[in-house]
């Protein structure tokens, strides 16, 4: 099994060096080999389960309620300006 670990790291937005990628690649392959045993189980006519206790389409009441004050919501941000969170520019001038 050949996994393009560099591509996966890019999708996951993880900054990993080559050495780490190599180790992770090996471990991923090892884990996927283990997982492959699922193919021994036929599932053609089986519906997938994503919610185990049978709840469907849970709605909340459409009412206005208090939210966190701005000050509290910004408290953990490393950089703020005038009530906004400062981020790195992603467009070039």
């Amino acid at each position: 099994m050949e996994i393009n670990v560099e591509h996966v790291a890019k999708l996951a937005n993880l900054p990993l060096d080559e050495k780490r990628l190599e180790i992770l690649g090996k471990q991923l392959t090892e884990t996927l080999l283990y997982i492959d045993r699922l193919n021994e189980i036929p599932t053609e006519d089986v519906e997938p389960t994503s919610q185990v206790t049978g709840l469907t389409n849970v709605m909340r009441d459409d009412t206005v309620s208090d939210s966190l004050p701005q000050q509290a919501a910004l408290e953990n941000a490393p950089d703020t300006y005038n009530g906004y969170i400062v981020v790195n520019a992603i467009f070039e001038e």
Binding site: I3, V5, V8, A9, L11, A12, N13, L14, P15, L16, R20, L24, Q27, L28, E30, T31, L32, Y34, I35, D36, R37, L38, N39, E40, I41, T43, V46, E47, P48, T49, S50, Q51, V52, T53, L55, V58, R60, D61, L68, A72, A73, E75, N76, A77, P78, I85, V87
Partner: protein, 469 residues
């Protein structure tokens, strides 16, 4: 008996009868923490001063006749529950400076019930692991033998209870993270039905599986804690609208002639000492008037594969939010285990692989759910060992990408199905390490598994043993 050794039930009695004050009880726990914490490292953050202030208030309220179920009881909280104004790290470097602006629902509930919060307990970073060795802040040690692991991910929680640092603990389980450390530390661990206890304010790991629950010194304490924690929460749409039950009252109802299912696959490859102890426990249940019946359950080996895909996929999605912009540190701060899980999850959810992995796993999940449904038509509960081995040596989880899955093999199937389970001590190995069994029941039948666990606890004395620290 020292105050810190008390169960919730005993401490509550003492507080209500004014044999001691909440301040004395809290001070006793804080002294105990001071004495044993250098050996154990069960806590990431201690809030001793705050605890003493809360205890002072609790004493005033106790004096005025307040009888809330946890009033004046010092407990520990796993560090993946948001605590307003108290650092919450999930034992990860990514969140090492994160101070939440709100309480998780379970934190709010225990606080409203009057509990005193001693601090936040250590865990595998982001709950990724079954050893507490994958904590970015160093491992927790097992109180029964500090060269051994406490299990995980709620390893700090289980150790804090086993070592009498806290009277009880709030932990969380995705697959095994309550039952397995409770088993290795010889305390009671209850994993409720998925959706019985709110996930609001939990640092999410695998959202379709995460289940907060108690770790306690006795079964009665677990029932009391569940009464406090269980219930519908508008902040978590996956919580059940079914009303919780009076678990403490139902504990003492006489339930006889139950059928206990056992499956060979849950005993194969398990340490012979553990098999022997669980078989002895089953004989005890027969003496109590119950029947033991052999059944065939889905091979737990397949559950590992299903769990690995579901969990890694949901992890990669949940951990995508950590960008270091709004809070915490950036994606370079993830430890090795988180990297490994994010990578596998990203791969299994990526274009071209989704059907082969995530969709396939969700289908086998259906088969596992149906398998348990069939079993529970034949039997009332299923009993087996909680873990295939007793506590393993410190260092065992290093460079072993499937360590957690192998140590949690016996709990993963029931977790995938979202069923409740309780782990209780049923013996000790030659090396004097705790051995535990688990009782698994149908959806929302926490009262039944608690009742059986309580029956067993009444005729045995394993829970009276204390580690020599």
């Amino acid at each position: 008996m020292k105050l810190y050794e008390l169960t919730i039930t005993e401490a509550r009695k003492g507080l209500l009868e004014k044999n001691f004050s909440a301040r004395e009880l809290t001070s006793a726990c804080l002294e105990r923490i001071k004495a044993v914490e250098p050996k154990l490292h069960a806590f990431v953050t201690l809030t001793g001063e705050q605890a003493l202030e809360e205890a002072q208030k609790a004493d005033t309220l106790l004096g005025s006749g307040d009888v809330r179920p946890l009033l004046g009881i010092p407990i520990s909280i796993k560090d993946n529950f948001c605590t307003n104004g108290v650092r919450t790290t999930a034992s990860s470097n990514v969140l090492r400076n994160f101070v939440p602006p709100y309480d998780a629902t379970v934190v709010r509930l225990v606080t409203e019930a009057g509990a005193i919060r001693l601090g936040k307990t250590n865990m595998d970073a982001f709950a990724h692991g079954s050893s507490t060795e994958a904590s970015d802040f160093g491992p927790t040690r097992n109180p029964w033998n500090i060269e051994r692991l406490p299990g995980g991910s709620s390893g700090g929680a289980a150790a804090s209870v086993a070592a009498d640092e806290a009277i009880a603990a709030v932990g969380s389980e995705t697959a095994g993270s309550i039952r397995q450390p409770a088993a290795w530390c010889g305390v009671v661990g209850l994993k409720p039905t998925y959706g019985r206890v709110s996930r609001y304010g939990v640092i999410a790991m695998a959202s379709s599986l995460d289940s907060p629950g108690p770790i306690t010194k006795s079964v009665e304490d677990a029932a009391l804690m569940l009464e406090v924690l269980a219930g519908h929460d508008p902040m978590d749409a996956t919580t059940s609208p079914l009303p919780p039950k009076p678990y403490r009252k139902l504990l003492k109802e006489k339930r006889e002639n139950l059928t206990i299912g056992i499956s060979d696959d849950y005993f194969n490859g398990v340490d012979p000492e553990i098999v022997a102890a669980v078989q002895k426990a089953l004989q005890e249940f027969e003496r109590l008037g119950h029947k033991v019946k052999k059944i065939k359950l889905f091979d737990p080996q397949y559950a590992i594969a299903v769990y690995t895909i579901l969990q890694r996929s949901e992890v990669s999605s949940n951990l995508a939010r950590y960008d270091g912009i709004r809070y915490g540190f950036g994606r370079d701060a993830f430890g090795e285990e988180a990297q490994r899980r994010i990578m596998l999850g990203t791969y299994s959810l990526s274009a071209g692989y989704y059907d082969a992995y995530y969709a396939k796993a969700q289908k086998v999940r259906t088969l596992i759910v149906e398998d348990f449904e069939r079993a529970f038509q034949e039997v009332d509960v299923v009993i087996g060992p909680t873990t295939p081995s007793t506590a393993l040596p410190v260092g065992s989880s290093k460079d072993h990408p499937m360590f957690g899955e192998i140590s949690d093999v016996l709990v993963e199937a029931s977790t995938i199905a979202g069923l409740p389970g309780i782990s209780i001590c049923c013996g000790f190995s030659k090396e004097l390490l705790p051995i535990s069994m688990q009782i698994m029941g149908p959806y929302f039948m926490e009262d039944l598994i608690l009742n059986l666990a309580y029956q067993y606890e009444q005729v045995t004395d394993w829970s009276n043993r204390k580690p020599n620290l």
